[in-house]
């Protein structure tokens, strides 16, 4: 059935000039896979009758079910034209946006691409995207306008209408190409300009500004698609036909007697033929003359369709005979007109011929790789080719030459890793048995039989039964698979990971230069590898064996274990692969994560990273259904990460396993993969946990209806007065300006704490310098121990002073006087964005003072208790009063703290006894304390404080004193917060959206619906694309990408990156108080309060008390079962 065996293929692979590496690109559902089917059927791999229905390249089950392609897969085809035999490595790619990463992997290893466009739908968003991708990779496109049959059958166009429709589509595509071209030219010009500006600066000479855009000079004639250039083909893949202008030009030049060259130029375009004069003239629209294309080509096809659809037997026969075709009796009698059309057309205008001929003629072979492309592949980021080391520059020649000599360096690019079932690998596949094998088996069976007989007779000695057992065991394992290691087999060894997992990873790769041989040692260069680094570390002209090389980051050495010819869902073993071919490589899964460059020379730079159109943005949290299956999940996610070029997998600090995918369909596929292939467990998917921060603000000046607060006399009935008081329990004194004074339960210590919001800049500085703060903390604690650590690093010291200076600069004004010097600690975790400052007179523990302050003996009085205070502060900042989320941007000022005599006595006593060695005292959690139930809460909170430092001899019925102090400090901080206007802070994404001007409005609608804010919008020069920059709360981002894609039919694609924390302006506890507010918001006013919505959601999630009515309307729950 298969016309070409592996041998033939490997023969063809050697002729580099006749290799074409192409991929099929298009919008979803424009017929890529169907087209691929048709091309495959020309090789006899599938029946031509099934072409278009089988979708051979869609080997996954869900691909078949959903009817969309989800991965790119390659197949090698043979095509002969005249004497030339071509090898075509065809890669089918998915069209759905979510899988555009797969397109990227395909485009990278091709030299040309077929762009397929639906004749009815025309240019679609993904068509634009793939064109751009092809453009960026510098590969040459050809155009296939597919589904022409739909124009005839569905739209019922006349040939004339169809012609103008096709012309339209072509214009659209050319316009797109033009845009890409102009934007590139403009970019280049901009670069030139910046360069020249640099020059002018240095020269200071007068310069005449060059107003020309550079567009005029740039040659773009080769760029556009046009049938007369032969890079456009009209097809109907489902009916199996297709043609280029050339085909008809050849026919009609014989028939009409006009030169082929003339016809080639005029068959497309507004020309008509004057039959009498046998002349071709320019069309004069007024005369209603039909263009050549309509008259000579379309009308013929139309009449054929017409005849078949009307079942006009005679006419069909006439056409068939006139075309010189032979239609099988079965097809001719078939009642479905589709079958007949297929039968006739696929003979008359075979699609594979039309397309493959165009591919072979118009697309470059690996030998014709442009130097521009090579340079682009090798230069990462802003590097220029000239800046690369000389050894690397030398490689360019190898690329261009694509040589297959043994001296040529081997360069392979792996664009993705894909998982195959280990059973599908050729070495594990059942193979038809050879004569010899069968003989062997027979022999063994006979032996076994004999032994059995012997055993049954009971004469067998013990040894032989054992022997028999062993023999029995081995054939049992082997027989069903028909694959035995001892039998002469090509595979040297089974894949090692076979036992552990049933998935084997195969690298999807292409040889750019040199011959890849099985068993060859080769360097694996990760994306971050730099040849410069290698050349620095390794002396030139090294000759040591490769294993002995010093370790260079992102580089490894491995063996090419097995090479495969990719044949769609099949794999064929190969011994060696000559340059310019697409191949699969096995056994690299431990070396390569997703993509890599393989090279025999270490001077090769890694190729530029794949250019992904869609970055992963849909985040979900994944958990196993059964908690005990966690390890399988983690393992599965790792495999998935390797198998998919575009997926991101991470564990968050909260312990969540997060999967980031490009879109909903992609997500679905990833989940299916996890469930069925990689993890094989049940998993549940949920929205990821959204973090918040709590903070306080200055009291607002205006109320919710923008009335100034305070001036109003007519304050409506106030519910809150009662509420306010109820929040703060008895025994705590609150000043009018928010100073909280609180005493420990045993009345020994009194603390006065005030909370002040930090300016935004300060918070930012603290955030940025958290590492510095942490190292400061480590330093002071080690010095505190009295140990002499290594001297403070000069640089760190400088940094600390700089940091302090910055803080001082921003904390100005009366309120903040000296605050910087009074900083005692940062929190939470001792390095967070909150400050504890102490204003008591004998305060000496400032973070700046370092060891000196701490060492002094006078501080001893407070020191042990100081630790408790800091611990209390740390706990308070770790979980705020609103929803137990960490605080941010709050400064707690400890105005004063007093210890009554007794406590001091105790502490000094202790000092005498224990020579001020701070020893810890903690409570074993959960142990019921001896104290009464009324301080259960206190007990609870300080039993948590196992960090309790400072020994307390004053243990009373309230537990150890240090614990009490921690709890009291924590409470004080919480109340200090509660008397201030509290606010939630939401995590924000910055969101970059690329959108065309016509969907701009919808983008804005989606953004504003999700509380997003547009920061700026810019038009991209030379295109009609807008770049919109917006910020969006993380809490609202779930499903955002999907929504925006749906609303804009895929024309806008967002990218989300976490940027900062932002205060949500609304007060979560706000209720209307003034008359105006009542009028405006009504009494409940809980519908619009975003902050409260978030707060309650978090509280509910954590099982905290939520102020929510269980039943909203008491009357409505009444059961009216009895009719009374």
């Amino acid at each position: 059935m298969v016309l070409n065996g592996v041998d033939k293929m490997s023969q063809l692979q050697k002729n580099t000039a006749n290799i074409r590496n192409i991929c099929v690109l298009a919008h979803v559902d424009h017929g890529k896979t169907t087209l691929a089917d048709c091309l495959i059927s020309s090789n006899g791999i599938i029946s031509s009758r099934l072409a278009g229905k089988l979708r051979y390249m869609d080997s996954r089950e869900d691909e078949q079910v959903r009817g969309i392609t989800m991965k790119s897969s390659a197949i090698s085809l043979h095509y002969a034209e005249g004497n030339e035999e071509y090898l075509i490595n065809l890669i089918d790619s998915p069209g759905h946006v979510d899988f555009s990463s797969e397109v990227s992997t395909a485009v990278r290893i091709c030299d040309g691409c077929i762009i397929v466009v639906d004749a009815v739908e025309g240019v679609c968003p993904q068509t634009q995207a793939v064109l751009r991708q092809a453009w960026l990779e510098n590969i040459r496109p050809v155009l296939v306008i597919n589904k022409i049959d739909r124009l005839i059958v569905e739209l019922k166009f006349t040939p004339q209408e169809a012609y103008s429709h096709l012309k339209n589509i072509l214009e659209q595509i050319n316009a797109l190409t033009g845009t890409l071209f102009t934007s590139k030219v403009l970019e280049e010009r901009a670069e030139r300009e910046t360069e020249s500006q640099v020059k002018t600066h240095s020269e200071q000479g007068d310069q005449v500004y060059d107003w020309s855009t550079g567009l005029e000079d740039a040659d773009d004639s080769q760029l556009y698609f046009s049938p007369e250039q032969g890079n456009v083909v009209f097809t109907s893949a489902i009916d199996g036909w297709g043609f280029g202008i050339e085909h008809f030009a050849r026919i009609y030049s014989q028939k009409i007697g006009i030169r082929k060259e003339v016809l080639l130029k005029t068959l497309w375009g507004d020309y008509y033929i004057n039959m009498k004069a046998k002349k071709i003239m320019k069309v004069d629209q007024a005369k209603g003359k039909k263009p050549l294309f309509v008259q000579l080509i379309l009308e013929n096809i139309w009449s054929l369709y017409d005849a078949v659809l009307k079942k006009d037997k005679e006419k069909i026969d006439k056409i068939v005979t006139s075309l010189g075709l032979r239609i099988g009796a079965r097809e001719a009698r078939h009642s479905d007109p589709k079958v007949q059309i297929n039968a006739i057309c696929s003979q008359w205008l075979p699609i594979s011929h039309a397309v493959l001929a165009m591919v072979c003629q118009k697309l470059p072979s690996p030998l014709d790789m442009t130097s521009e492309r090579v340079e682009k592949l090798l230069c990462t980021g802003s590097q220029t080719f000239e800046s690369l080391p000389l050894e690397t520059q030398a490689l360019k020649a190898a690329f261009m030459k694509c040589g297959s000599e043994d001296t040529a360096p081997v360069i392979i690019f792996v664009s993705k890793m894909f998982a195959v079932d280990a059973k599908a690998l050729p070495q594990n596949k059942p193979r038809p048995l050879t004569q010899e094998e069968m003989a062997q088996r027979r022999e063994r069976a006979r032996q076994r039989h004999a032994e059995k007989l012997a055993g049954a007779q009971g004469q067998a000695p013990q040894g032989s039964t054992q022997d028999g057992g062993a023999l029995l065991a081995s054939p049992q394992g082997d027989e069903p698979r028909g694959d035995e290691p001892d039998v002469a087999s090509v595979s040297p060894q089974p894949v090692p990971q076979e036992e552990s997992s049933q998935e084997a990873f195969i690298a999807f790769a292409r040889v750019f230069s040199g011959i890849a041989r099985r068993g060859q040692k080769i360097f694996v260069l990760g994306p971050k590898y730099s040849p410069v680094e290698f050349l620095q570390r390794v002396p030139l002209g090294f000759s040591a064996p490769r294993e002995d090389l010093p370790p260079v980051p992102h580089m490894a050495c491995c063996t090419l274990e097995s090479l495969y010819l990719l044949m769609g869902r099949e794999l064929e073993d190969l011994e060696e692969v000559p340059p310019g071919n697409v191949l699969g490589i096995g056994g690299l899964q431990d070396f390569i994560l997703k993509s890599a460059t393989l090279c025999s020379l270490p001077s090769c730079p890694p190729f530029i990273p794949l250019n992904f159109e869609a970055t992963p943005i849909v985040r979900v949290a994944i958990e196993p259904k059964h908690p005990s299956e966690m390890p399988q999940l983690v393992k599965g996610m790792k495999l998935l990460n390797q198998a998919d070029p575009c997926v991101q997998v991470l564990i968050q600090e909260t312990g969540e396993h997060v999967l980031v995918t490009a879109g909903e369909v992609h997500l679905q596929r990833c989940l299916d993969d996890l469930r069925e292939r990689f993890a094989k467990i049940h998993i549940s998917v949920s929205e990821p946990i959204i973090p918040f921060r709590e903070t306080i603000t200055k009291p607002p000046k205006v109320d919710m209806v923008n009335e100034e607060i305070g001036r109003q006399q007519k304050v409506a009935v106030i519910h809150q007065t009662k509420e306010e008081q109820s929040k703060i329990p008895e025994g705590i004194h609150v000043d009018s300006d928010g100073l909280i004074t609180i005493t420990t339960p045993n009345k020994l210590a009194t603390l006065s704490v005030r909370a002040i919001p930090l300016p935004e800049e300060v918070t930012q500085i603290l955030e940025e310098n958290s590492d510095l703060i942490r190292s400061m903390e480590l330093l002071t604690s080690s010095l505190n121990e009295g140990r002499n650590t290594q001297a403070l690093h000069q640089k760190t010291q400088e940094k600390i002073w700089e940091f302090k200076g910055k803080l001082e600069q921003h904390l100005t004004g009366r309120k903040w006087r000296n605050t910087v010097d009074q900083i005692w600690s940062f929190g939470p975790r001792k390095c967070g964005p909150n400050i504890l400052a102490s204003r008591s007179e004998d305060f000496q523990n400032s973070v700046w003072s370092g060891p000196a302050g701490r060492e002094s003996k006078e501080a001893g009085r407070f020191r042990d208790f100081g630790n408790s205070i800091v611990s209390g502060f740390q706990l308070a900042t770790l979980s705020g009063p609103m929803c137990e989320e960490p605080l941010m941007g709050v400064c707690f000022v400890l105005e004063k703290w007093e210890l009554s005599k007794c406590a001091e006595q105790g502490s000094s006593d202790k000092q005498n006894q224990e020579e001020c060695d701070p020893t810890g005292e903690g409570q074993e959690e959960g142990k019921t304390c001896p104290s009464g139930s009324e301080n259960q809460e206190q007990q609870d909170s300080h039993s948590e404080e196992t960090s309790a430092k400072g020994e307390s001899p004053v243990t009373d019925c309230y537990g150890p004193f240090s614990g009490q102090l921690i709890a009291t400090m924590k409470e004080a901080c919480r109340y200090a917060l509660q008397v201030k206007p509290q606010r939630l802070m939401a995590a924000m994404y910055t969101c970059d959206i690329m959108a065309t001007s016509d969907v701009l409005g919808r983008v804005y609608a989606v953004l504003s619906k999700r509380e997003g804010r547009v920061l700026q919008e810019e038009m991209k020069e030379g295109t009609d694309m807008f770049i919109i920059k917006a910020v969006l709360p993380v809490a609202e981002s779930f499903g955002f990408a999907d929504e925006i894609r749906k609303r804009t039919s895929g024309l806008a694609s967002p990218q989300l990156v976490f940027s900062h924390w932002e205060v949500i302006p609304s007060d979560p506890f706000w209720v209307p108080t003034t008359e105006e507010e009542y009028l405006h918001f009504g009494e409940k006013a809980d519908s619009e309060n975003q902050a409260r919505k978030y707060m309650n959601a978090v509280r509910k999630r954590k099982g905290l008390y939520v102020e929510e009515k269980i039943v909203e309307h008491a009357e409505k729950q009444r059961t009216l079962s009895k009719n009374k």
Binding site: T654, G655, D917, T919, E925, G1103, K1109, V1111, A1114
Partner: protein, 250 residues
């Protein structure tokens, strides 16, 4: 045709009775279900949403209204609404299904949150999520006891969960500073209590940094104090030894 509709009879359905005994008499009021707890916690502020009728009864189900004299003798007023409020805040309540349900659910969540907060997966040193813990708690059929503190229950849950999934209390990182001569002896005693010893340094003093189970903290603390007679010291370096930051799979 006319249908007899008794206009002087108000039938109450969906009643939750709140009782109170005062001056030797029992008083009852008729409230809506699922509303009394809300009133007490201050979520519900509208009295009419709580009370079915403002009258005070002796027996709600029989419809016997309390006598005026009784009310005055018991409450000192005959303002029915005021008395209703008093009974609402102080009387004994029937907790209705939804109220109980939300309370239990809240406690369940709370327990799961505490467990998730205290524990880690020993393999990855990362916490489990609350949802996962909740699911595991359901798997072991843990039933919440409403009169026990959530914290105590959380500790019980951890013990039970250990049999089911790989979970462990997040370790505490401690540093001991022990005098050299007693150090060695003490170390032997401390050994069973320490999970992981991260560093040991015998310079002037024996310094050990180690991870322990938070449950043994008190024991260790007492041991050190007793053995070294106050010369050894112990410092808590971190309460929870967990991985920080996000980790990407690469």
């Amino acid at each position: 045709m006319s249908i007899f509709t008794p206009t002087n009879q108000i039938r109450l359905t969906n009643v939750a009775v709140v009782r109170m005994k005062r001056a030797g008499k029992r008083f009852e009021i008729a409230c809506y279900k699922n509303k009394v707890v809300g009133w007490r916690s201050g979520v519900e502020k509208d009295l009419d949403e709580v009370l079915q009728t403002h009258s005070v009864f002796v027996n709600v189900s029989k419809g016997q209204v309390a006598k005026k004299e009784d009310l005055i003798s018991a409450f000192g007023t005959d303002d029915q609404t005021e008395i209703c409020k008093q009974i609402l805040t102080k009387g004994e309540v029937q907790v209705s299904d939804k109220e109980r349900h939300t309370q239990l659910e809240q406690m369940f969540r709370d327990i799961a949150t505490i467990v998730a907060d205290k524990c880690v997966n020993p393999e990855t040193k990362r916490p489990y999520t609350v949802i996962l813990i909740e699911r595991a708690m359901k798997d072991i059929h843990y039933s919440v006891k409403p009169n026990k503190s959530t914290k105590q229950q959380a500790l019980e849950v951890i013990k039970q969960l250990k049999e089911k999934i790989k979970i462990e209390r997040a370790h505490m990182r401690l540093r001991f500073l022990l005098p050299l001569n007693e150090g060695k002896k003490l170390k032997e005693k401390l050994k069973p209590l320490m999970k992981v010893v991260e560093s040991e340094d015998y310079s002037q003093q024996l310094e050990i940094v180690c991870l322990i189970d938070p449950g043994c903290f008190r024991e260790i603390d007492e041991l050190i104090k007793k053995e070294t007679k106050g010369r050894g010291s112990l410092e808590v370096l971190s309460l929870k030894d967990v991985e920080e930051g996000d980790e990407k799979f690469e």
